[in-house]
Structure formats: structure tokens, C-alpha cells
């Protein structure tokens, strides 16, 4: 694959890579690092891609592996100082707000609740929800991407959706009390 084609395809995939990284990593900065690492690694390993039509799937898998590496390293090397992860994400959101044509006003509190609920799910369910609802992948495609059966993807979608709703409702009730 030539650099020009690679550049074109990875640029088109960039929004997806960004969201996948954000769904896997709690901190905005690390998600950005993971995406950049993915670009570099995908270029280095491009000869391993046998079917160009699977470029997107292949690149997302590389990114997921990088995210796993970062998560694992974090477990072994905890931060010396705590950070407000939500504020970190809020900062990232505000930086990109100009690029988003939000169809309705953004409720930061609700987004923080959603984020809290989302990150209470296991990472695979989180990823499936994001790929399905945000990226528009079909169940079968997600199954191929994550090497899961379609039925399993479907049941994780259903459970994840219900769990998100339940946790958001419960957070709302806590606030109201």
C-alpha cells in the first residue's frame, strides 16, 4: 500500500479511531496517543494486511491492542496524583465542540453521567455499544471485528443498553434526592 493511499484511508478512519480510543481509555490525552501510535504501527505493519478491503477492521484491531497495552501499563504504574477524569474529558470536548454540529444543546452533567455509566461497563460491552450506536456498524460486522458470535454481540448490546439506562436513571435519582 502506497503512502498516499494509506494516508487517505487512515484520515477517513480517524474519527472512528478517535472514538474507539475514547471508549476504551479514560483519559483524553492517552486516547490521542493511542490513535497516533495506531497510525504509526499500521504503517509499519501494512504488509501484513492481505485484503485491503479489511483495512478499517485491521486498523481498529491494532488500536484496540494498543489500548489494552496502555490499560495494562496503567494497572502496573498507577498515577502518583489523582486526576478528575471527567474534567479531562470535558476539556477535550470543549476543544472539539467547534467541530460538532450538535443537534441539540449539550447537557454537560448528563454527559458526565453517561460517561460514568458507560465506563462502569466492561470494555468489550462499551466498545460494542459505541461501534453500533455511534459508528453504525452492523451486529455481524461487530462480530467479525471482535471475533464474537453475532448472538453474543446482540445480547451484549441488549444488556449494555439496559444497564446504561438503569445506571443513568439511578444517578438521576441520586441527584434528585
Amino acid at each position: 500500500m502506497q503512502a498516499s493511499e494509506f494516508s487517505e484511508r487512515i484520515t477517513a478512519l480517524l474519527p472512528t479511531l478517535n472514538r474507539v480510543a475514547l471508549s476504551q481509555l479514560r483519559r483524553w490525552v492517552e486516547a490521542q496517543d493511542a490513535v497516533l501510535e495506531c497510525v504509526a504501527r499500521a504503517w509499519e505493519k501494512r504488509e501484513q494486511l492481505r485484503e485491503p478491503r479489511f483495512f478499517n477492521t485491521w486498523a481498529i484491531r491494532i488500536l484496540l491492542n494498543i489500548c489494552h497495552d496502555i490499560q495494562r501499563r496503567e494497572r502496573h504504574e498507577p498515577l502518583l496524583f489523582g486526576t478528575d477524569e471527567n474534567s479531562d474529558v470535558r476539556e477535550g470536548r470543549s476543544a472539539t465542540r467547534a467541530l460538532i454540529e450538535a443537534p441539540e444543546p449539550v447537557d454537560e452533567e448528563q454527559l458526565d453521567r453517561l460517561r460514568e455509566a458507560l465506563f462502569s461497563l466492561d470494555e468489550r460491552t462499551r466498545l460494542i455499544l459505541m461501534l453500533f450506536y455511534v459508528e453504525g456498524y452492523r451486529v455481524q460486522e461487530i462480530g467479525q471485528l471482535l471475533e464474537m458470535r453475532s448472538g453474543s454481540v446482540r445480547s451484549r448490546l441488549s444488556r449494555g443498553r439496559a444497564e446504561l439506562r438503569r445506571r443513568m436513571d439511578s444517578a438521576l435519582k441520586r441527584i434528585e434526592r
Binding site: 503512502a3 494516508s7 487512515i10 484520515t11 480517524l14 474519527p15 478517535n18 472514538r19 475514547l22 490521542q32 496517543d33 490513535v35 497516533l36 501510535e37 497510525v39 504509526a40 499500521a42 504503517w43 509499519e44 505493519k45 494486511l49 485491521w58 484491531r61 491494532i62 484496540l64 491492542n65 497495552d69 496502555i70 495494562r72 501499563r73 494497572r75 474529558v89 477535550g92 476543544a95 472539539t96 465542540r97 467541530l99 460538532i100 450538535a102 441539540e104 449539550v106 447537557d107 448528563q110 454527559l111 453517561l114 458507560l118 455499544l129 450506536y133 455511534v134 471482535l146 448472538g151 445480547s155 451484549r156 441488549s158 444488556r159 443498553r161 439496559a162 446504561l164 439506562r165 443513568m168
Partner: protein, 469 residues
């Protein structure tokens, strides 16, 4: 906020900074290529050098890495479990009691084999102990690929406790006439028992039932996991009813997944004995109605080891012809999807599955009906007692000679909503039938905005296709 929209808002688009960094990286790649460098001399990223040394083969997922810490923790857990099993064998009830002290929410389970007449003790707090005697356990022997496995067990609480289901508590201020006859009988039996015994009722929430079978695939643990994940979230079902001695009949069923060929054994010849380990879990939120105080939530796990001969089945295929469209069902968009009749050792099981189209209206009505009956303190922690809503509460089957068969005295049945709340299930056990029924009539009961005590019946005609083995 719509979850889909919220997720989009949450993740958004790449920042300008990231786009710029990626653009720089791609420029470097293009420059390297122009100079004939096969791979960049260093990755065009801004990540730390330490991270760059951790490359792994690309393109394959690596989800299941186990760190040393996890291995050590697992080993420690195994040792603790082994010690606990030895201690339990020596003095089981004492161990449960010790483990159960304190008020923090926790799970309780008694995984000793469920045997008729064998008592199971669960201590919730130092002040509250529940003891169950299992009076009867029955498992149907219908176990064909894609079919339903039915089971029934009778739980007899002893000591000074009575298990009270939210549905029965919720119905207590409704006119008896609005209830189906079997439901009414069950509640009357409970009322009589409470009056006679003077025992304290406790609320038990069955909104999250679970049924587990060990090694359902008959193959590897991985095959089991896939089978369970695909099957149990949507198909498990438990229904409960009271007997005059205060015991509870639990009737459950679940569908075996299509494709689980190993479950059906050497189909056609029968008699492929397979050991199934059935575990029925009730997840109760204990509530003392007198004080409104909530006791710690816990899971009571009852377990049954059973050897089943498979496949032995006598079921009826039926084409559904719903001959009426009750307003109650229309209001909530309830559509009947499946009706199955299976002869089991305890009688004929009538199993109805329906879906809810208008979930919003259903939830709103549910919230309204519960709030009208229970205080906020009572509602808290009990989960959604969804079976108080529009559900089939009674059934009868009609034979071709005009005879009507009512549910048997014991397993009169009940109904519920599936785990994800999108399906209604109802199950009734009637006396076993040799003849093909011609129709089944269900009474649907539940509040509507206009009439909280509305009850309607829907008659389902059957066109038996063929009587299978």
C-alpha cells in the same frame, strides 16, 4: 437523553490538535517513502519512548491476557474456597451464619444439592434467618434441541417467616373480582396462611430470576459460555404461586438454543442420559412491611442436580389464531408471538410468549401502578415488580368435545416479564392431556389508564399440525 445521541456527544470528533498531529505523522510517512525508507526510523508519534518498545503482532485481538496479580488472586481464591468447602462440610449452617453477619448488601447462596425434604438455611442478619425446606422438585423430561425445559419446585419456608412476593402485596388493595380465579385462589391461600400462622411476611423480588445449567453444551467450557450467553438473557422465566401451607411453587422454563445438537443426544432413539445441574436463583430484596425497613439484598441460590433422559418429548405444534383483539392488549401494543403446549410429568404446560410494542406506555403504567400501592421506601430496592401489570393471570384449555380444563391445584402458574423487559411470559400447568386441545383462553389482567381493574380474555384457537414424538 437518548443514549445513542449521548454517545455521539460524548465522543465527538477528533480535536484539531489530534488532526494536526496525525497530518504531521502522515507527512513524515510520505517523506520517508519518497526517500526510500521502508519504515520510519522512529514512529511518527509523540508517545513516550518506553511505549514504543512494546510492539506486538498487529491485527489480532488480545483480550485474554492474565497478569501475575490476577493469577495469584485466583490461586488465593481457590485456596479460600477449598478451605470454606471443608469447613462447610463440617458445620455448614454455622459458617453461613458467620459469613452473613452485618448489614451490608451481599449475596447468599446455598449451593448444596437441592433435595426433597432437605432444609436450606439462609441467615440474612443476626435477627433474621430464613430456612427453606424443598418439598418437591420436578423436572420435565422434554429436552429437545430448540425446545423448552420446564421445571417446578416447591419451597417451604419454616421458622417465623413467610415469603411475600411484590405482586401479591401490590394486589392486596385491588378488588378480588378483578383477578383471575387461580390468582385469587393463590392469594386467598396466602391470606389464610398468614392469618393462621401469625408469621411475618417478607418481600421477595423475582424480577431478576436466573437459571443456570452446568455444562449445557455437553462440550467444552467455552461452548458452555457461548451457549449461556446467547440463551439465557432473553428466555429464562420463573413464575411463582402460593400453596395453603405457605410454601411457594416455582415453575420455570427456558428454551434450549437452536443448534445445541449435543443437548439433544442421539435424537430419535431417546435415552441419552445427561446430567444437568439446575440452579434456580431468586434475588430477593427483603422487606419487613410492618416497619418498612429494608433488609440487605441477597441472592438465594437453590440447586438441583438431575439426570435427564433425552430426548423424550410429547409436544403439540399449534398455529395461533387470535380471535379477538382486547383493548387492554391493544393499549400496550401486546402481541402474542408463541404458544406452546408440552406434556410434562406434572401436567400439560401451557407456555405463552408475547412482546410489548409500546414499552413507554408500559413503563409509565408500571410506575403509576406501583407508586399508587407502595411507599417510596417500599419501592426502593425492590426492583420493578413488573408482573403486577398487564399479564395473563389465568388460562384454560378447551377440548374438542367442549370440555374445559382448568389449571391443576398445585402448579397453577403465573407470568412475568423477561430480563430486558420486552417480552411477557406466562406459564400454566394443567392436568396432562391425551387429546389435542382445540383452543386456549387466557385472562389478561392489568391496569389501564381508564380502568385499573380491567380484565379481559383472549381466546387462541389452535390448529394442531402434528403430534410429535
Amino acid at each position: 437523553m437518548e443514549i445513542e445521541h449521548g454517545l455521539r456527544q460524548l465522543f465527538g470528533e477528533p480535536s484539531e490538535g489530534l488532526q494536526e498531529r496525525v497530518r504531521l505523522a502522515l507527512d513524515r510517512i510520505a517523506a520517508d517513502e519518497a526517500e526510500g525508507v521502508a519504515t520510519p526510523t522512529h514512529p511518527p508519534t509523540l508517545t513516550s519512548p518506553a511505549r514504543q518498545g512494546q510492539e506486538r503482532p498487529a491485527g489480532r485481538l488480545r483480550y485474554f491476557r492474565i497478569s501475575r496479580a490476577v493469577l495469584v488472586a485466583a490461586l488465593a481464591m481457590v485456596l479460600v474456597l477449598a478451605a470454606a468447602m471443608v469447613a462447610f462440610a463440617l458445620n455448614g449452617s454455622r459458617i453461613i451464619e458467620l459469613l452473613s453477619r452485618g448489614d451490608a448488601p451481599r449475596s447468599y447462596s446455598d449451593d448444596s444439592p437441592l433435595q426433597e425434604g432437605a432444609g436450606s438455611l439462609v441467615t440474612l442478619t443476626e435477627a433474621v434467618t430464613l430456612r427453606f425446606d424443598v418439598a418437591e422438585v420436578t423436572l420435565s423430561e422434554t429436552l429437545n434441541d430448540g425446545e423448552y425445559l420446564h421445571f417446578a419446585l416447591q419451597v417451604q419456608p419454616v421458622d417465623d417467616t413467610v415469603l411475600l412476593l411484590p405482586g401479591y402485596l401490590a394486589e392486596s388493595d385491588r378488588p378480588m373480582s378483578s383477578l383471575g380465579p387461580r390468582f385469587k385462589d393463590s392469594q386467598e391461600r396466602l391470606g389464610d396462611y398468614l392469618a393462621r400462622s401469625g408469621r411475618t411476611p417478607y418481600l421477595i423480588d423475582i424480577s431478576r430470576p436466573a437459571i443456570e445449567i452446568d455444562n449445557p453444551s455437553g462440550a467444552s467450557a467455552e461452548a458452555d459460555a457461548a451457549l449461556m450467553e446467547d440463551t439465557f438473557s432473553a428466555t429464562s422465566n420463573l413464575v411463582l404461586s402460593y400453596e395453603s401451607d405457605g410454601s411457594i411453587i416455582v415453575v420455570g422454563s427456558f428454551r434450549l438454543p437452536s443448534g445445541s445438537a449435543s443437548l439433544s443426544g442421539d435424537s430419535g432413539t431417546g435415552a441419552d442420559a445427561r446430567n444437568l445441574d439446575l440452579r434456580v436463583s431468586l434475588t430477593p430484596a427483603y422487606l419487613a412491611p410492618a416497619t418498612g425497613a429494608l433488609l440487605p439484598e441477597g441472592t438465594l441460590s437453590l440447586r438441583q442436580a438431575k439426570s435427564l433422559a433425552v430426548p423424550v418429548s410429547s409436544g403439540f405444534d399449534a398455529q395461533l389464531l387470535v380471535n379477538s383483539e382486547p383493548a387492554l392488549m391493544t393499549a400496550y401494543g401486546i402481541r402474542i408471538d408463541e404458544l406452546r403446549l408440552v406434556n410434562t410429568p406434572t401436567g400439560m404446560c401451557v407456555y405463552l410468549r408475547a412482546s410489548i410494542a409500546d414499552r413507554g406506555a408500559y413503563d409509565a403504567a408500571l410506575a403509576g401502578s406501583l407508586e399508587a400501592i407502595l411507599s417510596p421506601e417500599q419501592l426502593q430496592g425492590t426492583g420493578a415488580a413488573k408482573h403486577v401489570l398487564v399479564l395473563p393471570t389465568d388460562a384454560e384449555i378447551n377440548l374438542d368435545d367442549g370440555a374445559v380444563v382448568l389449571p391443576a391445584g398445585s402448579y397453577s402458574g403465573g407470568s412475568g416479564v423477561s430480563g430486558d423487559g420486552e417480552l411477557l411470559y406466562a406459564q400454566f400447568i394443567l392436568p396432562a392431556q391425551e387429546r389435542l386441545p382445540t383452543s386456549v383462553t387466557f385472562a389478561f389482567r392489568g391496569p389501564s389508564p381508564a380502568d385499573p381493574s380491567l380484565t379481559e380474555t383472549v381466546r387462541i384457537e389452535l390448529e394442531p399440525a402434528e403430534r410429535r414424538r
